[in-house]
């Protein structure tokens, strides 16, 4: 067999692999799932980076939280990848979005809030698309992601309230110890 570039080879392999399947996903749903996947990949990277920045500063509790949330995003990405593969699409992991990395804690929270707001909008859009295409299982998966995302947004807003009302120095002090 002549040598073919590995990228193309894996695509061929992928198409062959799924030949026998009965379920093909709606094109628009696949696009929406991939968009949400891209957002989750961005979130994994940004949250993980923020976790380790916090650890480097000695803010253990913030490290733990950002790390946990990064893992939540990874699990969500996993669900999306599996769904896209099942629907005979190609999950796109090549093109993560821009990271919004903060240089101090309020900036970190602001960057995360911006990111999560975007993730939420993407998920809402994808849910609408899945509903219209009657892909209720994709919808359910996306809905679960939406719930987690809103919880994250709620947490970030709580932190911002705490900074405003307890003072930044006191707030940062409370992040020094593990929860």
């Amino acid at each position: 067999m002549p040598a073919i570039p590995s990228r193309i080879a894996s695509t061929f392999f992928f198409i062959k692999l799924k030949e026998a399947s009965q379920v093909k996903g709606d094109n628009q749903v696949l696009v929406a799932l991939n968009r949400s996947l891209k957002d989750q990949i961005t979130a994994i990277n940004q949250l993980f980076m923020h976790a380790r920045i916090a650890r480097n500063w000695g803010l253990k509790r913030l490290n733990d939280y950002e790390y946990q949330q990064s893992i939540v995003a990874m699990k969500m990405a996993d669900d999306l990848i599996e769904r896209v593969l099942f629907l005979e699409g190609l999950p796109n992991l090549q093109d993560p979005g821009k990271l919004m990395i903060g240089e101090n804690v309020p900036e970190i929270l602001k960057g995360d809030l911006k990111l999560m707001t975007r993730v939420r909008e993407g998920l809402q859009e994808a849910i609408r698309t899945a509903e219209a295409a009657r892909d209720f299982v994709s919808r359910e998966i996306l809905d679960e992601g939406l719930e987690q995302t809103e919880e994250q947004i709620d947490w970030i807003e709580t932190q911002q309230w705490l900074i405003e009302n307890s003072g930044l120095e006191n707030y940062l002090q409370s992040l020094m110890e593990e929860a």
Binding site: N56, W57, G58, E169, N170, L172, Q173, M176, E177
Partner: protein
């Protein structure tokens, strides 16, 4: 087994530094305890034990290389008067030890004393990633949360 002269000279210098670091941590940890800063006491008491272990490794190696370590040349101990000053002085010592360890490792390599080199590498890792890094973080935290909050967290 006889050691190389240059290596032995470095080991003696390192021993002078480790013994001084041990005493400095000894002094500082007891001051923290006296002030009621229990968490700083625990941490610095642990550092003192680690410096003792470092000195132990150097002494054992020198004896094996057939040299009597000299315990009377230990470096000056810099005892601070406030928490910030104490942390800064400790960090200074750790930076000096880091420099000396790097030089010594290079000399061990040049003299083909690979076993001494390996022992020193372990000390370098502790010095950089454990001691110096932790001290840098504390000084950074004081800036971020303010001295009073920092001290409160160390009670």
């Amino acid at each position: 087994m006889k050691g190389k002269k240059r290596v032995l000279k470095q080991l003696q210098k390192l021993l002078n530094g480790e013994l001084a670091a041990r005493d400095q941590y000894f002094a500082h940890s007891r001051m923290y305890e006296d002030w009621g800063l229990g968490k700083l006491y625990e941490r610095i008491d642990h550092e003192m034990q680690e410096e003792t272990e470092h000195a132990d490794a150097i002494i054992k190696r020198m004896l094996f290389l057939e040299t009597q370590p000299d315990y009377s040349q230990q470096d000056k101990v810099r005892v601070g008067a406030s928490v910030t000053e104490m942390l800064k002085n400790d960090l200074e010592v750790e930076y000096e030890v880091t420099d000396l360890l790097k030089k010594s490792i290079a000399i061990c390599e040049a003299e083909q004393d690979y076993e001494t080199r390996e022992i020193l590498e372990k000390l370098l890792e502790d010095t950089e990633m454990d001691h110096a890094y932790w001290l840098e973080q504390q000084l950074g935290l004081i800036k971020k949360v303010g001295l009073k909050n920092y001290l409160q967290s160390q009670m």
